[in-house]
């Protein structure tokens, strides 16, 4: 067994992991990135469509191009990347943190380190998770699997397609499958509004005349061997209109019904998760409850743009480096998700530092107001032209915004949207 030591180990070599590693390296610390796939880049490598990097690089790149841009920066650094290597065990109990990684090239690697950055990304929710009853034939795939098959392996999983869920991956795949000559018969969404970005509705559905059924539940999958059809039923005021159910014939069902951060390793290390996001609860330095374990990117919460992932992950890398050099938050307070806020990450802010938070709302609204209160007194108020659950909202909180915390007895910071 090969034994190695690093100041920090980053688990996952997607956009998040690479961005965090670059900061650790820039701070002069030794660091390794462990990635289980053959190449770095994570989910980006299969997203061959454009739409990445508008914020980060000021131009529209494809996923692989975006990944390459970051990967290029790794060259010339001292970052060690181990690809085709899977972190299987994580022990944060002892003095050093220890990771066991499996790879065909190395056998088992035992890495010791003082800090870990979790950047494992997320996985797709599947048919079982949303409990669609019916037959269990071939032809039911998650949209991400289909994307992998088409974009990287070069296989077309089906010809007549219905997409369940209007998340971004599903929308992108509707267009992708149309491009490779498949007929996409419908996108079906249980909510009254689409859950993907507006630009994707326009570019991926409208431009291809693909019908979007909002407020429709998938109630049955039909087909013995291979999918033959899918039954969908309208919802009216929350009630299932069973007599209005209809079946769309198809040979393939793609599921785009949400992503879940991959936190099995985190749990193994004793990291506490936020039930709202399934990601770790982190403090103002993006550190979990386990000292020295940080989290960023989709493993922390599901982001809609990779640019945000990179921004957040840079901070995680920077904070991890600072933490290793002894910096600790000065005075932290908890931030509560108030009215119409689904979650915030991080869940703590440092009163004496500049804080950046990402959040998601529960509502769709024009002319909304985002308010930050300290002990019920509004300290910051921001107008938003339009908000919706699928678009992440950013919030900056400076020491000045949080001044009143210092004098408050039991300070509670609450963020709400109205």
């Amino acid at each position: 067994m090969k034994d190695l030591f690093f100041d920090a180990v980053v688990i996952g070599g997607g956009a998040a992991g690479m961005a965090a590693a670059l900061e650790l390296d820039a701070a002069g610390l030794s660091c390794a990135v462990i990635e289980r796939e053959e190449q770095l880049g994570g989910i980006l490598t299969q997203c061959i469509h454009n739409g990445f990097g508008l914020i980060e690089f000021n131009e529209e790149l494809s996923g692989p191009e975006f990944a390459e841009r970051i990967e290029e920066k790794l060259q010339g650094t001292n970052i060690r990347s181990f690809t085709s290597t899977t972190v299987m065990e994580l022990d944060a109990g002892s003095e050093n943190k220890v990771l066991f990684c499996y790879s065909a090239l190395w056998g088992v690697l035992r890495l010791s380190c003082n800090a870990i950055v979790l950047a494992m990304g997320c996985r797709e929710r599947n048919r079982g998770n949303i409990r669609i009853p019916g037959d269990r034939p071939a032809g039911v795939y998650t949209a991400g699997l289909a994307q992998r098959l088409v974009n990287i392996e070069g296989y077309v999983p089906g010809k007549d397609i219905v997409i369940i869920g209007s998340g971004d991956i599903g929308l992108i795949m509707a267009r992708r499958m149309s491009w490779v000559g498949c007929k996409v018969h419908a996108v079906v969404e249980i909510l009254p509004y689409p859950s993907g970005l507006t630009r994707n509705i326009v570019q991926c559905l409208n431009d291809f005349d693909i019908p979007l059924y909002l407020s429709h539940l998938t109630t049955n999958i039909i087909g013995r061997d291979r999918v033959e059809g899918v039954e969908i039923t309208p919802l009216e005021n929350g009630a299932l209109m069973s007599d209005k159910a209809f079946t769309i014939p198809c040979d393939t069902i793609l599921l785009s019904v949400g992503l879940v951060p991959e936190n099995e390793l985190s749990r193994m290390a004793g990291v506490e998760l936020n039930p709202m996001t399934n990601g770790p609860l982190v403090d103002s330095m993006l550190m979990t409850n386990v000292p020295g374990i940080f989290a960023c990117g989709n493993v922390l919460h599901v982001h809609d743009l990779v640019d945000y992932v990179v921004e957040e992950s840079r901070r995680a890398g920077k904070y991890a480096a600072q933490w290793l050099k002894g910096r600790r938050p000065v005075r932290e307070v908890r931030v509560k998700a108030g009215a119409n806020v689904r979650y915030l990450a991080p869940v703590r802010v440092d009163v004496q530092a500049d804080n950046k938070l990402y959040m998601r709302t529960l509502i769709v609204k024009n002319d909304a107001v985002l308010e930050v209160r300290v002990n019920n007194r509004v300290v910051k108020s921001i107008r938003k032209n339009h908000i919706q659950p699928s678009e992440m909202i950013q919030l900056q909180l400076s020491p000045k915004d949080l001044e009143s915390v210092l004098s408050a007895p039991d300070p509670v910071v609450e963020v709400s949207i109205n």
Binding site: W106, V108, A138, T142, G144, L145, K159
Partner: protein, 479 residues
């Protein structure tokens, strides 16, 4: 496609848990044996979708053949596990009573268990039952404890039995859908839908749900197997609802009720429902039944949550009256009926093997023990069960043991290759053999990797990659 040699002394139709046990048991003797199944892999019938419980011997009165075989079969599992290396654990069974009148039913079950000679059966107070199974609802009044009950991975059990049978000379023919039969002198001529034929002195009909059809093909007894569907939910191994024991409700007159089962491999199964269906290929799950499962499981174990569901599935019980029907045909010669093998068929199956062997012996089959018979299969390592140090050692021999394919269930490339080499070339076959695609992501990440390994190891083209049957093609085109 493999052609049959022969003629065979015995042809066993159906490679479910019944047929597999019969074949393996007979393989200890100097006989020429064929085991045939219509599906592309073994254990794709009733034996793949059930509760996987080695029952406790208290549910049925021993006047029934099925009760006697259950008691006998259950005792044979420890030895079988040592020989055949399949996942099996005696975790014990609790029956939880939630009402006063259910406590009376517990009394009767207890008496029946004692009468059947069940070892260690115990009536429990509320405190005792909660101590045995702390996940139970705090309002549980009491119940029954049967320490000998256990859990098994049914398909892995069948795979091991068949592997060992083949090792001992049994010829396995998959994709062999028996469609016609004729008597030729002393022999049965058995014909498959694809035109292959074989000849055998004796035929065993262990065709599960289709035993009635097979019986008719041979001109034997006329009966009807009815299918009673049981639907299940499978919960993630991280669920807080995972009990230590198999948890039964108090049974009703029609079924043993819906259970909460900690599977040997760490996930949790809840179900099954019980509903007669007309179509014996109808394995669809339905919303109504699935909803029932959740609410029923929650009355016993409140921590059951729909958020832990990773998949649902259904199985069909092949029912014929109340009891098993295992006997020589009274209508045609040299034909053994193994029909109506509903629950506790899995538990009873090793004893069914024994029983059928004795029937054949009485019918004149010569049983000469074979010196070369080896009851052991070669144990295969599973990365999931090994420490990093052990994996490192394995990887020094074969690096593919350190190349992870399925992240959720921790399955390495070497294990997938072993499955393919053992003849499991459908995605489901590989799933049942290795557990890859069985975890929380249900194949979202590893399916494409497995497809590539199957193609590499077998030379099959993308068109031939299927889920579980010829028509269940996975891919439709190449770019």
């Amino acid at each position: 496609m493999q052609n049959a040699s022969g003629p065979f002394d015995v042809c066993i139709i159906g490679a479910g848990v019944s047929g597999a046990n019969i074949a393996r048991r007979l393989s200890a003797y100097d006989l020429n044996l064929a085991l045939v199944d219509s599906e592309p892999d073994v254990s794709f019938g009733v034996s793949k979708a059930n509760s996987g419980i080695v029952h406790g011997g208290f549910h049925h009165n021993k006047k029934h053949l099925k009760a006697r075989l259950e008691l006998q079969g259950a005792m044979m599992f420890d030895r079988l596990r040592q020989e055949l290396d399949f996942p099996f654990k005696r975790c014990g069974i609790v029956v939880a009573a939630m009402h006063e009148d259910e406590m009376r039913a517990i009394d009767q079950l207890y008496m029946q268990g004692v009468d059947n000679g069940v070892i260690g059966i115990e009536m429990c107070s509320r405190e005792r039952i909660l101590e045995l199974e702390p996940k139970l609802h705090p309002d549980t009044l009491g119940g029954l404890w049967v320490p000998g009950g256990g859990i098994v991975e049914p398909y892995r059990f069948v795979f091991s039995l068949v592997e060992n049978a083949v090792q001992n000379g049994v010829q396995l023919l998959t994709g062999f859908a028996v469609s016609r039969a004729a008597r030729q002198g002393e022999l049965w001529q058995v014909e498959a839908a694809d035109g292959r034929t074989l000849q055998a002195r004796y035929v065993v009909n262990a065709a599960g749900l289709f035993a009635d059809k097979v019986s008719a093909m041979f001109g034997a007894e006329d009966y009807t197997i009815k299918a009673r569907k049981g639907e299940y939910y499978l919960l993630d191994r991280m669920t807080k609802a995972k009990p230590d024991r198999v948890v039964f409700p108090v049974p009703t007159s029609v079924s043993k009720g819906m259970l909460v089962i900690p599977t040997v491999e760490g996930t949790v199964l809840i179900g099954p429902t019980a509903e007669l269906v007309d179509d014996k290929r109808n394995l669809a799950t339905t919303k109504d039944q699935l909803d029932k499962i959740l609410s029923s499981a929650r009355t016993m174990i409140p921590a059951v949550s729909e958020y832990d569901v990773i998949t649902s599935f259904a199985g069909l019980r092949p029912t014929l009256d109340e009891d098993f029907y295992i006997d020589m045909s009274a209508k045609v010669p040299d034909f053994v009926q193994v029909a109506g093998i509903q629950s506790p068929g899995l538990t009873a199956s090793p004893a069914i093997g024994e029983y059928v062997k004795d029937l054949l012996k009485k019918a004149g089959l010569k049983l000469l023990e074979k010196a070369s018979y080896d009851p052991f299969v070669v144990k295969r390592p599973h990365v999931k069960d090994l420490s990093p140090y052990e994996v490192d050692e394995l990887a020094a021999r074969d690096p593919a043991y350190a190349n992870m394919v399925c992240r959720c269930e921790k399955v390495s490339e070497a294990e997938i290759v072993a499955a393919v080499k053992a003849g499991h070339t459908t995605l489901d076959g590989i799933k049942y053999f290795t557990r890859a695609q069985m975890g929380r992501c249900q194949g979202g990440f590893c399916t494409y990797k497995i497809i590539k390994i199957i193609m590499r190891e077998t030379g099959l083209s993308w068109e031939a990659i299927t889920k579980n049957s010829n028509a269940s093609q996975i891919l439709k085109d190449v770019l």
